[in-house]
Amino acid sequence: MSKFTKKKGGELPAVNTASLPDIVFMLLFFFMVVTVLRDNDLLVKNTLPKADQVEKLKKDRSVYIFAGKPSARYQDKYGKEGKIQIGDKFTDVSNLKFALTEARQKLLPELQDKVMVALKVDEETNTGLVTDIKQELRDLNMLKLIYITSPGNEVDN
């Protein structure tokens, strides 16, 4: 008879959390492996357009140019017009050559001739700004460029 008497209290047993650290560590290692530390602070809004016919960027020989509207917290200071960012600061179109030459000098000497310009431009920017950048790049004879995009396709959605 006493077989069926309730155990006293009837509390739920505590969930065993011994393997929780393992799970968290697994996640941690995943993030550590797949990510790189952010090396420059974005001052502009940067939602990249979608494309699927893409090639991979060779990181060791690339110079980044960001462009777009200043992000929300900088809009009071810099307005809402499209702007160019190289490194950590805004650059004017007229000053682009100097900034790019400077950025190129940071690459390994043997790769400086093979430099590739990676354009990270917000999808709401006007093409005119991109054209200005490209004109400057032609003047500098940095002819290889890559428009960085996010995976997807504009037609499908």
Binding site: T17, L20, P21, V24, F25, L27, L28, F31, M32, V34, T35, V36, L37, R38, L48, P49, K50, A51, D52, Q53, V54, E55, K56, L57, K59, M116, A118, L119, K120, V121, D122, E123, E124, T125, N126, T127, G128, V130, T131, K134, L137, R138, D139, N141, L143, K144, L145, I146, Y147, I148, T149, S150, P151, N153, E154, V155
Partner: protein, 206 residues
């Protein structure tokens, strides 16, 4: 003296420490996007007597400031652009027997359209106020048209897909002889050379 058992270390806070680290990494890092559409700009020098391109060998894509497409004087939706670019490139309109004749083209062989893929030029004209999103979408569709044709030819000649092999080589995990494959890729590129021209955009709001 009897050996005393070492007391167990309390590992209860290990999870907290790990969470802290995890959150730090989550916040400070971004998954870097490193893929995109590669392009070669034309060098900035005056070309003496530029080659004359016949009207039929030119495929004009016009994008206005409202992101509307005008392709060969006709309004077009973005989703139709790829197919019409393929039709244009693959046309092979030159008559059989002439040196321009394209023996691998499978198009309609319309004499009013392009002679062969080598002659065919796609010209994109943007307004300064066109959105960058649209610009990339158009470029993407045009590259897709070339990739489709290159895939088809490499499938026929060598039995592999151009884009797949190129991707594998970019990522450095191509199995087999890389130099031979590189040569094959180049021969395919010669069949359908990427000839995209970009006109200087017109002034604002025109």
């Amino acid at each position: 003296m009897a050996r005393r058992a070492t007391p167990e270390v309390n590992a209860g806070s290990m999870a907290d420490i790990a969470f802290l680290l995890l959150i730090f990494f989550l916040v400070t890092t971004t998954i870097e996007k490193d893929k995109g559409i590669a392009r070669q700009l034309p060098p900035n020098e005056e070309i003496e007597d530029p080659p004359i391109i016949r009207q039929r060998n030119l495929f004009i894509v016009n994008v206005n400031k409202n992101d509307q497409l005008l392709v060969e004087e006709e309004l077009m939706e973005l989703r139709d652009l790829r197919q019409s670019a393929i039709d244009f490139l693959d046309n092979g309109g030159a008559a059989a027997g002439t040196p321009e004749y394209c023996n691998y083209c499978k198009g309609k062989r319309d004499p009013e359209s392009s002679d062969n893929p080598d002659k065919a030029v796609i010209s994109v004209q943007n307004d300064r106020l066109t959105s960058y999103k649209m610009y990339i979408a158009v470029q993407n569709e045009l590259v897709a048209a070339y990739n489709y044709l290159r895939d088809r030819e490499s499938q026929r000649l060598y039995g592999f897909k151009f884009t797949e092999v190129k991707k594998a080589m970019d990522e450095g995990n191509y199995q087999g002889n890389e130099e031979a494959a590189q040569e094959k890729l180049e021969s395919i590129q010669k069949l359908f050379p990427l000839k995209l021209s970009e006109a200087e955009p017109k002034s604002k709001g025109s």
